[in-house]
Symmetry: C2
Subunit: 392 residues, 2 copies
């Protein structure tokens, strides 16, 4: 009698969440220090000092105002501060009116997709991609169209992409720096992608929106990340502070609708409407004020870089093959057997919790989150070596 889709979604947890819960249970048995949980993108590097300072400062304000409702789009002053910060950092001309604050990245994406898509529309994604995309796209009534991965570098193969864009394509969803591959799209890629989408939009007579999911925007190790609205005006940016400020539990982010996007005003209205439709009222107020103070700051990225180098070299030495990531905090090596699920099951013997690439639309690979303590990586490397030895 209950809606089966909801029962299924709730009882068949995502592979990642499943492993996360397994890790908690396992830690209770063997001790947390003996579980090498690389399953979840839960930053271990603490929020930067400015976050805690900002919280303390705001706690001095009138609590009724501090914890009160803001406008549904978010506090005006906060949005203005964020627009100014983006303008400074990326040479843009945004205003408060371009921003709609959300309860984190999943909300940003769900709202953007509901604002853009109608039943029957297609949304193109590039494998490997974050598994929940399929839930968000289908909830918006659209169909997820998967561009198969180019496993040698996980960059966009434009010929393959071109074959997947059709008159039904309403949006292309990108995620760079990428979860799970850590790959960062270059400016040249941005130019090529923009050219393709402009050509196809003109050809089909309707805009194809680019939805840029960029919670890892600032988490890069030297690579330059293009700011997408500069390359393609029909871009909607979905952002979250979960990773850059290490605040994933606090649920705070935004949707950005630039003035230059097709039907910009209606699109912004649709974003506000989708927020109402999905039961959002406003983003958490205290953390709205915090991000206004801290936008552009990041947690200590040198720790992630050290982790990346340690783990990447450790795995390559152990016999893994892996594209070296330029951003985010994931490695995405090939599994040592064709069946990544079987491989991840075998890894559990060593209390190594890693996620099969199948969940990301990319079988034969595994995701290893290195937003963990450096010590965990040091302690886990012998286990990875033992695991690899089983395959020799």
């Amino acid at each position: 009698m209950l809606p089966q889709e909801m029962v299924d979604l709730g009882s068949r947890r995502s592979t990642i969440r499943e492993l996360f819960e397994y890790g908690k249970q396992r830690a209770a048995v063997v001790g947390p220090e003996n579980v090498y949980d690389f399953s979840i993108g839960n930053p271990n590097v603490p929020a930067p000092e400015c976050v805690t300072e900002s919280i303390y400062r705001h706690l001095g304000r009138d609590p009724a105002a501090l914890h009160g409702y803001t406008s549904a789009q978010g506090d005006y002053g906060v949005r203005k501060a964020l627009a100014e910060s983006l303008n400074r950092r990326f040479h843009q001309e945004f205003r408060a009116e371009n921003l709609y604050l959300t309860v984190g990245a999943a909300a940003s994406l769900s709202i953007a997709l509901h604002a853009i898509c109608e039943a029957g529309d297609e949304v193109v994604v590039f494998a490997p991609y974050f598994p929940e995309y399929s839930v968000f796209v289908s909830a918006a009534g659209a169909k997820l169209v998967e561009v198969p991965p180019r496993c040698e570098d996980f960059q966009i193969d434009f010929d393959v992409l071109a074959a997947h864009v059709t008159p039904k394509t309403r949006a292309v969803l990108i995620n760079s720096p990428n979860n799970p591959s850590g790959v960062v799209y270059s400016k040249e890629t941005a130019e090529k992608l923009a050219a393709l989408l402009k050509e196809r939009s003109a050809h089909y007579g309707h805009p194809i929106y680019l939805i840029s999911d960029e919670p890892y925007r600032e988490i890069v190790y030297g690579a330059e990340t293009p700011f997408w609205t500069s390359y393609y005006s029909d871009t909607v940016v979905c952002y979250s502070y979960s990773k850059s400020l290490s605040l994933p539990g606090e649920r705070i982010g935004y949707v950005l609708v630039p003035d230059g996007a097709a039907d910009s005003k209606d699109l912004y209205h649709a974003v506000c409407g989708a927020g109402r439709y999905l039961g959002y009222v406003c983003a958490p107020s205290l953390f709205q004020y915090v991000i206004a103070d801290c936008d552009g700051a990041t947690s200590d990225l040198s720790i992630y870089r050290r982790n990346r180098d340690l783990l990447y070299h450790g795995l390559v030495d152990a016999g893994f093959s892996c594209v070296k990531p330029e951003g985010a905090f994931y490695l995405f090596p090939r599994a040592l057997e064709a069946d990544a699920n079987g491989f991840c099951e075998r890894a559990k013997k060593y209390d190594l919790l890693i996620v099969p690439g199948d969940a990301f639309g990319c079988p034969g690979h595994v995701r290893i989150s290195y937003c963990v303590s450096t010590e965990q990586i040091e302690r886990a490397l012998p286990a990875f070596r033992k695991l690899a030895a089983e395959y020799r």
Copy 2:
């Protein structure tokens, strides 16, 4: 080309939000002290001390853990503490597993409705009711069936209700203490409602769920509020701390699925699934820990009681007729002309911002939120008298 329903929802703001925004603009012109904004249920009484104390205490913890992801259902320890608090206060036997933490009341309701309803199902509500109910019900694919108000006391007329419950009825949605009438349902009402729903569930051969939306549960002035799961086992409780702890901007609440509810396990799964489907990941983490510390506490209710008495008597003296509210922080008097919209427009002349009852499915009445400073009420009473004088 964009989904018209979303554009409309975003451009035609709710009457209440519209007035709230108008009030902000008007305050910028004539000064905030000269705008008598009674439009929104934004508590003016600050959060109780325990909230600020709890925040400071948790800020001493490891920030990566404090601000990290919790389980999708909410932190286990938090849910356990909330269950124990509910058990103490209401003589129940809940466990952590009965609770799913949410991003406030709108999320609780949206999730509960998506978990329960399928296309074509009917959800019965009692006028007057919170206008966003119609958005939440329709987003869940269901049809809102409105039981017309009994204006002499805003209690349930069971004969009228009986005529609105059909084989298609999947849920009955109640809100006591009520926004906007302030009316509280008694234990006798709970018994009668339970009897009717049991009889009809048996007759139709499927459970009719009672969705109890109770953000005002603790905001009562002497009246006893029944705890609904004790009366009717197929009850799903939707709670929010927005009003009791004066934290509406922070977005924190829960859905409670008791073990005794029909298909309880699947229903809880469906709640988890609906959360995923709507783009929720977890409730804001810092405030999860705060509510575990503060559940059962309230803001200083004596201020609301004083406001109610002052405003109620002031309005009655000025010639208004009004059911005296026993809970929440709203008065819902008759407008002084048949067209409440026209009446509220006229009230704007005196910078009195009040909400027409039409939005609540109850024309001819107006909602006046008294969760404002007592001084605002004192200053506004002459304006209400002048407004009333226009109708003599």
